[in-house]
C-alpha cells in the first residue's frame, strides 16, 4: 500500500469522532447499524400507533372514532411504515453490525455508500409521513397502490410515489454494498460454505432486493405517468390493463415477502444452535433451501391475484408453484427441530423468541398453504383470514426474529448483559397478547369479514373486541422492550467475549462491547 493509505490507516486506530456529527458523517458499520436499528425502533412505534388507531376503530361495529378515509390511510400507511420503515431497516441494521464481524472483515465494502443508504431513510419517511397532513389526506388505496384506485388520491399521491423511489434507492445501494461485502471482504481462506447462515440468507436477500426493487420503481413510475402525463398503462380504454399493474407490482411484491423473512431464517439458524449447544443440523441443506425459496419467489406472484381473472392454466401454475415453497420451508423447520433434538437446551430470552418464531411462523406458513389453494382462496381472498396469515408470518416471524437478534447480540453491542427477567416478561406478555390479537382474525376471516373496511356486521363484534384488547396489550408491552434495551445500554452485568456458552462464530472472538474497529487485520483461522 502507498504512504497515503498508510497515513489513513493510522487514522483508523482512533475511536469514533467527537460530537453529534459523528452520526451524520460516520462510515463505521457499527455506527450505521445502530442508526438503522434505532430508526427502525422509532418507526415501529409510529407504525404501531397507526395499528392501534385501526384496532380502536374496529373495537365496536359502527363508525365511532375516525372517518373512513383516515381509516383507509391508516391501513395503507401502517403497512408502508412497517414493511419499509421497520422490518427492512432493522434487517439492514443487523446486517451492518453483524456481517463484517461474522466474515472477519474490517467494515462494509463501500462505507460512504453505506452512510448514504441510511441517511436516505429519515428523509424518505419525512416525505411519506408528511402526506398525512396534506389536502385530501395520506394515501388511502392500500399499500399495494393498485390502479385505478390509487390514482384517485389527493395531493399525497406524487409524494408517496417519490418516497417509494427514494427508499428504493436506499435499498438497492444497501444491497449492492452487502453483496460486495460478502464477496470481497471475507477473511482470507473463508469459503462461501463456511459463512454463518445469517450471512448466506442476507446474500440471497440482497440479490432479491437488487432484482425487484427496480421493478417496483418501474411500476410506480407508470402510475405516476398515468396520472400526470396521460399514459394508458393501466387504462383499458387505451389498450392497457389495470390487472397489469397487479402483475408488475406482485412480481416485486412476492420476492419482497421473502426479503422480509429470509434474514429472519438466518437469525434463527444462529440462535437455536447456540442455546441447544449443538451445531446447526443440515447446514448445506439450509443454504440450498434458502436459494430454492428465493428462486421460487419469482414464479408465484399471481397467487395474490387468484380472483382478478386469469386463464385457468395461470391459476393452476401459480397454485402448484406456491405449494412447492412449502418443501424448502419444511426443510428449514425440520432442520431447526433436529438441531434442538437431544440438545442441552436452555431458554434465555433469545431462545424463547426463536422458539416462539418457530411455532408461530409455522402457523402462518400453514395458513399460507391454505391460501395457496386457488378454489379455497376465492373464498378467503380479501378477508381477515389473509390479515391473520400475513401477520402471523410478519409479527411472530420477522419481528420476533429481530427481537431475538436484539437480545442475542445486545451484550456484544453494549458490553452489558440485558435484564433477563424483564426480557422473559417481554416475551411472555408479547406472545400472549399477540395470539389474542391475531388468532381471532382467522375466525372472523373464515366467517367472511372483509379487510380494509372500518365497519363490520354485528356477528363479528365479539372477536373484534378481543383482537383489539390484544392489540393494545401487545402494543404497550413493547415498552418493556425499549426499557430493557436502554437499561442494557446504560449498564448492567459485564458481558464476556463469548457471551453465550454455546455460541460459535467470529463475532464471539472479539471483546464485548465490540471495539469500534474489528478485524483491521484479518483473522488467521481460515487461511
Amino acid at each position: 500500500m502507498s504512504t497515503a493509505a498508510a497515513g489513513h490507516h493510522d487514522h483508523d486506530d482512533h475511536g469514533p469522532a467527537k460530537g453529534w456529527t459523528r452520526w451524520l458523517y460516520t462510515t463505521n458499520h457499527k455506527d450505521i447499524g445502530t442508526l438503522y436499528l434505532l430508526f427502525s425502533l422509532v418507526m415501529f412505534f409510529i407504525g404501531g400507533g397507526m395499528a392501534l388507531i385501526i384496532r380502536a376503530e374496529l373495537f365496536q361495529p359502527g363508525l365511532q372514532l375516525v372517518d373512513p378515509l383516515f381509516f383507509n390511510s391508516m391501513t395503507t400507511m401502517h403497512a408502508l411504515v412497517m414493511i419499509f420503515g421497520v422490518v427492512m431497516p432493522a434487517f439492514v441494521g443487523l446486517a451492518n453490525w453483524m456481517i463484517p464481524m461474522m466474515i472477519g472483515g474490517p467494515d462494509m465494502a463501500l462505507p460512504r455508500l453505506n452512510n448514504w443508504s441510511f441517511w436516505i431513510m429519515p428523509f424518505a419517511f419525512l416525505l411519506l409521513l408528511s402526506t398525512l397532513f396534506m389536502e385530501g389526506g395520506g394515501p388511502a388505496g392500500g399499500w399495494t397502490l393498485y390502479a385505478p384506485l390509487s390514482l384517485q388520491g389527493g395531493d399525497s399521491f406524487a409524494f408517496v410515489i417519490f418516497s417509494i423511489h427514494f427508499m428504493g434507492i436506499s435499498s438497492v445501494m444497501g444491497s449492492i454494498n452487502i453483496v460486495a461485502t460478502i464477496f470481497n471482504m471475507r477473511a482470507p481462506g473463508m469459503t462461501l460454505m463456511q459463512m454463518p447462515l445469517f450471512v448466506w440468507t442476507w446474500l440471497i436477500t440482497a440479490y432479491l432486493l437488487i432484482a425487484v426493487i427496480p421493478v417496483l420503481a418501474g411500476a410506480v413510475t407508470m402510475l405516476l405517468t398515468d396520472r400526470f402525463f396521460g399514459t394508458s398503462f393501466f387504462n383499458a380504454a387505451g389498450g392497457g390493463d389495470p390487472v397489469m399493474y397487479q402483475h408488475i407490482f406482485w412480481f416485486f411484491g412476492h420476492p419482497e415477502v421473502y426479503i422480509l423473512i429470509l434474514p429472519a431464517f438466518g437469525i434463527i439458524s444462529s440462535i437455536i444452535p447456540t442455546f441447544a449447544r449443538k451445531p446447526l443440523f443440515g447446514y448445506a441443506s439450509m443454504v440450498y433451501a434458502t436459494g430454492s425459496i428465493a428462486f421460487l419467489s419469482f414464479i408465484v406472484w399471481a397467487h395474490h391475484m387468484f380472483t382478478v381473472g386469469m386463464p385457468l392454466a395461470g391459476e393452476m401454475f401459480f397454485m402448484f408453484a406456491t405449494m412447492m415453497i412449502s418443501v424448502p420451508t419444511g426443510v428449514k423447520v425440520f432442520n431447526w427441530i433436529a438441531t434442538m433434538w437431544r440438545g442441552s437446551m436452555t431458554f434465555e430470552t433469545p431462545m424463547l423468541f426463536a422458539i416462539g418464531f418457530l411455532v408461530m411462523f409455522t402457523i402462518g406458513g400453514l395458513s399460507g398453504l391454505m391460501l395457496a389453494i386457488t378454489p379455497a382462496d376465492i373464498q378467503y381472498h380479501d378477508t381477515y383470514f389473509v390479515v391473520a396469515h400475513f401477520h402471523y408470518v410478519l409479527v411472530p416471524g420477522a419481528i420476533y426474529s429481530i427481537m431475538a437478534a436484539t437480545y442475542y447480540w445486545l451484550p456484544k453491542w453494549t458490553g452489558n448483559m440485558y435484564d433477563e427477567k424483564w426480557g422473559k416478561i417481554h416475551f411472555w406478555v408479547s406472545t400472549v397478547f399477540l395470539n389474542v390479537l391475531f388468532f381471532p382474525m382467522h375466525f372472523v376471516g373464515l366467517a367472511g369479514m372483509p379487510r380494509r373496511i372500518p365497519d363490520y356486521s354485528l356477528q363479528f363484534a365479539d372477536w373484534n373486541a378481543v383482537a383489539s384488547i390484544g392489540a393494545f396489550g401487545f402494543g404497550f408491552s413493547q415498552l418493556i422492550f425499549v426499557y430493557v434495551i436502554f437499561k442494557c445500554i446504560k449498564g448492567g452485568e459485564k458481558a464476556t467475549s463469548e457471551v453465550w456458552e454455546g455460541a460459535d462464530g467470529l463475532e464471539w472472538t472479539v471483546p464485548s462491547p465490540a471495539p469500534y474497529h474489528t478485524f483491521e487485520k484479518p483473522p488467521a483461522q481460515f487461511s
Binding site: M1, A4, A5, H8, H9, H11, T26, T27, G105, A109, L110, P111, R112, L113, W116, I120, A124, L126, L127, A158, F159, I161, F162, S163, H165, S175, I176, V179, A180, F183, R186, I210, A211, V212, I213, P214, V215, A217, G218, A219, M222, T225, G230, T231, S232, F233, A236, A237, G238, G239, G240, D241, M244, H247, I248, G309, P311, L312, E520, P522
Partner: protein, 287 residues
C-alpha cells in the same frame, strides 16, 4: 478474493447527507410541481444533486489518483457497478414486461380473444374493437396517429450506437496498452456518436409529435413507446456525460494500463445502454 494485509476505510463522509437533502428537495419539488406548484424547489434540488455528485466523485477521483485504493477496493467498486447495472436491467424489464403484457394479453382480451370472460368483456364494453398492434385501445385514446417506422431515423440511430460501441472498445484496448492519447481520441468519437444519437432521438420525438400525432397520450402504444425510448434516451445522455468526464480525465493524464476502473465502469454502462437499444429496436420499432 484478494488477501490484503490491512484494509482501507474512508472516514467522515460529508457528501451523503448533502445527497439526501438534494434528493429530498428534488422529490418534494417535483411532487409540488405535479400538484400545480412552481418548479423552483425542484431546480434547487437538482442543483444540489449536481453539486453533490461533482464533490463526491471529485473526492473519490483525487483519492484514486493519490494511490489511496488497494486492489481490494477496486474489486468492491467493480462489483458495485456490475450489480448497479443489473438493477437498471430490471428497471427496464418492468417496462418491457408492460409492453409484452399489453401485446400478448390485454390487446387480444379486449378484442374478445381468450378464454373466460374475454368475449363477454368485448361484447359488453368494447364491442367492435379489433386488436392489431400498434394500438391506442378500443377508445382510440389520443386520436388517430401513425406509428413510428423503424426505417429512417431509428435505423440510423442503431448504426450510430453500434458504431459507438466499437469506438468505445477501441478506446478500451488503447488504455489497456497504456496509450492514453488514442483512448481520448476514440472516447471523443464515442461521445460525439452518443450525443448525435440523442439529437436524432429528439428530432424523432419532434416528428412524432408534429407530423404523426404520436404522443405519450396515444394509448398503450404511445405510453410504451415514449417511456421505453425516453428512459433509454435519458440513460444514453448519462452514459455520454460519464464518458465525456472520463475523456477529460484522460486529457489530464488520469488512468494507466492497470488503473482505469472509471473507464471500464463507464464502458460497461455504455454497452448496457447499447444492448437495451437493440431490445428496443426489435420489440418497439420492428416487431
Amino acid at each position: 478474493m484478494s488477501s490484503p494485509s490491512s484494509y482501507y476505510i474512508p472516514h467522515e463522509a460529508k457528501w451523503p447527507i448533502v445527497g439526501s437533502i438534494a434528493l429530498f428537495t428534488f422529490f418534494a419539488g417535483f411532487a409540488s410541481l405535479l400538484n400545480g406548484g412552481s418548479w423552483y424547489l425542484m431546480a434547487v434540488g437538482a442543483a444540489i444533486l449536481v453539486y453533490m455528485m461533482v464533490g463526491w466523485f471529485g473526492e473519490v477521483i483525487a483519492e484514486s489518483e493519490n494511490g489511496t485504493y488497494s486492489a481490494q477496493v477496486d474489486v468492491s467498486f467493480r462489483m458495485a457497478m456490475m450489480w448497479f447495472i443489473f438493477s437498471e436491467v430490471m428497471f427496464f424489464g418492468a417496462f418491457f414486461g408492460a409492453l409484452f403484457y399489453a401485446r400478448t394479453f390485454s390487446g387480444p382480451w379486449l378484442s374478445g380473444i381468450g378464454e373466460g370472460g374475454a368475449s363477454a368483456t368485448n361484447a359488453v364494453l368494447w364491442s367492435g374493437f379489433d386488436y392489431v398492434w400498434p394500438t391506442n385501445g378500443p377508445q382510440k385514446v389520443g386520436g388517430s396517429y401513425e406509428p413510428m417506422s423503424w426505417l429512417g431515423l431509428p435505423l440510423i440511430n442503431t448504426a450510430l450506437l453500434l458504431t459507438s460501441g466499437v469506438t468505445c472498445t477501441i478506446a478500451h484496448h488503447a488504455i489497456k496498452h497504456g496509450d492514453r492519447a488514442k483512448m481520448v481520441k476514440f472516447l471523443l468519437a464515442t461521445c460525439v456518436l452518443g450525443f448525435l444519437f440523442v439529437g436524432l432521438q429528439i428530432l424523432e420525438y419532434w416528428e412524432a409529435y408534429a407530423h404523426l400525432n404520436l404522443k405519450m397520450t396515444t394509448g398503450i402504444y404511445g405510453s410504451t413507446f415514449f417511456l421505453l425510448t425516453g428512459f433509454h434516451g435519458f440513460h444514453v445522455c448519462m452514459g455520454a456525460i460519464i464518458l465525456l468526464i472520463v475523456m477529460f480525465r484522460g486529457t489530464r493524464k488520469h488512468f494507466s494500463a492497470t488503473n482505469h476502473f472509471a473507464f471500464e465502469a463507464a464502458a460497461w454502462y455504455w454497452h448496457f445502454v447499447d444492448v437495451v437499444w437493440l431490445g428496443l429496436f426489435i420489440f418497439v420499432y420492428i416487431l
